[in-house]
Amino acid sequence: MAEPVEHAAHFESAERQGQAATLGMWVFLASEVLFFGALFVIYAAYRTREPRAFAEAVAENTFWWGSGNTLVLLTSSLFIALSVHMLRSSRARAACWLVGATVFLGMLFLGIKSYEYVEHFRHGIYPGGQGQWFADQPRAAAMAAFWTLYYLMTGLHALHVIIGVLLLSVIGWCVARRRVTRLAPQALENGAMYWHLVDIVWLFLWPCFYLTNGGA
């Protein structure tokens, strides 16, 4: 049974306020798309100039970790979408568990990513073309550009995952404590939208850095 919902004085109804919150979130996500977009443009420009070097560098990445991470994030998106549905059906407990599962998968993603970074460092691949690995490369310049972009783009993405994990943890905790329930569905929905964006960005990073190895 729905509780009577209060809304801010300047909105004519709670529904209108909810619409505003959702619209605001969409517009924010649009700005995030453009934020990442700039990096993808640089990637596209540099790859067009040095397609073979980039393809070879992609081959250096471990396909299975990258694809595993894709699976992790896709699953987490499924969970968070389900949790929104649960909360709207007033099944707060189930919603809570699902948020927890999403947070767990997010942290798993970060764990795998950290492991990959450590492996790269072990091989001597650092951003900025620094590191022993570049010394032995015939096409060091192009490789440097690739790996700098790799660290920048996956690093920025990982930062967004961290933010998402923190955000969803807070929201999940609020739901668990039955606090602020009148706002919780909206907050969870917005949090879920953010998480979906994070997932979608990864779906573009995945081919850029793991799949397009030119058949090598």
């Binding site: 619209l23 605001g24 649009a30 934020f35 640089i42 420009a45 073309g129 310049a141 700098t148």
Partner: protein, 560 residues
């Protein structure tokens, strides 16, 4: 004077009530003060630059200091003044009132946006104490990756300001979509709202690209990652593409709100409907959209293909057409109007001349072969100052005077205003027309010393800057005086039919007593004639459930 919608928004006086306010009107006033301070600061930098340029040889500034100063001038004027100015001051104050709302969609995010602005400003100004940077406000790589100056704080400051802008943009867009009062369709909104909305769309889409681009330069400079270093597979020209992808729409962020102001001023002071509401609304979006497709015209000499150059050139011509539509509509609005020549209208006239001249020199630099000579010379500097100062600043001054009674409840001294406007206009012309000629002569931008033969023009320009400064100082002085001591203006001293004039001046805390429903469109002057018996315009019919008609009709003139 009490009012069912609450006391005047200025009533509560504690510092706390201002610093923690969620009232869009107060936040608008806070932004007004902050951005005006930044304009003064940027203006002082400009005066110092022009002073140094009085003589061809170094006078009191080393080349290095000069370079840092023009960078600071650009950064301050663009990001700390022009981009926020009209939207954060007047947009915040007026947008909800104009659409019959009581508040913006996200009042607390609005306050956050103000504090982010302050933080960004502080960080940017803090960089001054570290000597600032010398790359110019355009931060071109590879120089910006290698400059020995303190560039990172400047970049961080601008990055933070970008967040403030984006939050404001999200707030405005959401407000226009969800808080328009009953019966207010898109075609019933005041044109200023269209302008603010279009600006907000650009802000939200373009600013993130700037944020990323500057962040990359900061990373490059601080960590030496060489993302734009040709020796490490990078390309300095991609920086230019990304930078201008934001910065060209940014100039439309700076001019669209000004155009919105002009639409309001022209209709009010001609006491007439706009020649074509649709033309102005459509061209607002035309500018916003096509403006994203023209960035390459900043790079005609950078080595792009002739095909790319041609495409950017023709698109730049197209965007100018939308501005021309607006200008013809504004001038046409005056036809058969009933025109009152007050200071705001004086600023409109200045705008019309300067914006058209500046805009057409924009078409001239968009003509690719001509730009080869003019690129990176004083011709371009003159062109954009004609638009930024002659266009945006002029409209900003017009807005200040027009909405002064709305914001303060008092009137500024008209004669002083007209005199100051004349001085501002004259000073501006003297400052910047010689710069077109300097550009023709071949004087490049960002030059600390120059050939002797160019001194006469530089001298005139510097003299002009003093006149301009004089006019602006006078304006600031009488406005500050009038805010406390000006005569009470009444609710609608301009007899305007636009919706913000339905509420008292200054407005009550919650704007409207009840959800208003406007019977007339905001530019319906067909039956609106203020009472010839000269009764006071104060008060309207505030309790009328159908919304208050324009105050001048309070004494009972027949109303449709």
């Amino acid at each position: 004077m009490t009012h069912p919608a609450g006391p005047s928004y200025l009533e509560e006086r504690s510092v706390r009530s201002w610093l923690f306010t969620r009232d869009h009107k107060r936040i608008g006033v806070l932004f007004l003060i902050a951005t005006a301070l930044m304009m003064a600061l940027g203006g002082i930098f400009a005066l110092l630059l022009r002073l140094e340029l009085l003589t061809p040889r170094p006078m009191f500034m080393s080349a290095d200091s000069y370079n840092r100063l023009f960078t600071l001038h650009g950064v301050t004027m663009v990001w700390l003044f022009l981009i926020p100015s009209i939207p954060t001051a007047f947009g915040n104050f007026l947008l909800p009132i104009m659409i019959g709302a009581r508040e913006l969609a996200f009042p607390r995010w609005n306050l956050a946006s103000f504090y982010l602005y302050c933080l960004g400003a502080l960080v940017t100004l803090f960089s001054m104490f570290l000597g600032g940077t010398d790359t110019g406000w355009t931060f071109y790589v590879p120089y910006s990756s290698k400059t020995p100056t303190a560039i990172v704080p400047v970049l961080v400051g601008v990055f933070i300001l970008g967040w403030s802008t984006i939050i404001t943009g999200i707030n405005f867009i959401t407000t226009v979509h969800t808080l328009r009062t009953r019966g207010m369709t898109w075609m019933r909104m005041p044109l200023f709202v269209w302008a603010i909305y279009g600006t907000s769309v650009i802000q939200v889409l373009a600013t993130p690209v700037l944020g990323m681009t500057l962040a990359l330069v900061a990373v490059d400079h601080w960590l030496d990652w060489g993302l734009f270093d040709p020796g490490r597979g990078g390309d300095p020209v991609i920086f230019q593409h990304l930078f201008w992808f934001y910065s060209h729409p940014a100039v439309y962020i700076m001019i669209l709100p000004a155009m919105g102001v002009v639409s309001e001023l022209v209709t009010t002071f001609s006491h007439k409907n706009p020649l074509s509401y649709l033309a102005i609304a459509v061209s607002t979006f035309g500018i916003a959209f096509v403006g994203f497709l023209t960035w390459g015209h900043h790079m005609f000499t950078a080595g792009m293909s002739t095909f790319d150059a041609g495409a950017f050139g023709v698109l730049s011509m197209l965007v100018a057409i939308f501005s021309a539509i607006k200008v013809s509509t504004w001038v046409g609005t005056m036809y058969r109007g009933s025109i009152s020549f007050k200071a705001p209208l004086a600023y409109v006239f200045a705008f019309l001349f300067l914006f058209v001249f500046g805009g057409m020199t924009g078409v001239a630099v968009a003509t690719m072969s001509l730009d080869v000579h003019w690129h990176d010379t004083y011709f371009v500097v003159a062109h954009f100052h004609f638009i930024m100062v002659g266009g945006s600043l002029t409209a900003y001054l017009g807005a200040l005077h027009y909405w002064f009674p709305k914001i303060t409840g008092r009137m500024y001294p008209e004669r002083w205003a007209l005199a100051a406007a004349l001085l501002v206009f004259g000073g501006f012309v003297l400052t910047f027309v010689p710069q077109f000629l300097l550009g023709n002569l071949g004087m490049p931008r960002r030059y600390h010393s120059y050939p002797e033969s160019m001194q006469a023009l530089h001298t005139i320009s510097t003299g002009g800057s003093w006149a301009l400064f004089g006019g602006l100082s006078i304006t600031l002085s009488y406005l500050l005086w009038a805010a406390r001591r000006g005569r009470l203006a009444g609710d609608n001293p301009w007899y305007s039919a636009s919706y913000e004039w339905y509420v008292p001046s200054p407005p009550p805390k919650h704007n409207w007593p009840a959800t208003p429903c406007f019977e007339l469109d905001p530019y319906d002057y067909t039956t609106y004639a203020p009472d010839p018996r000269g009764k006071s315009d104060v008060g309207g019919a505030p309790d009328a459930p159908g919304g208050a008609p324009p105050a001048g009709d309070a004494q009972g003139a027949a109303h449709g």
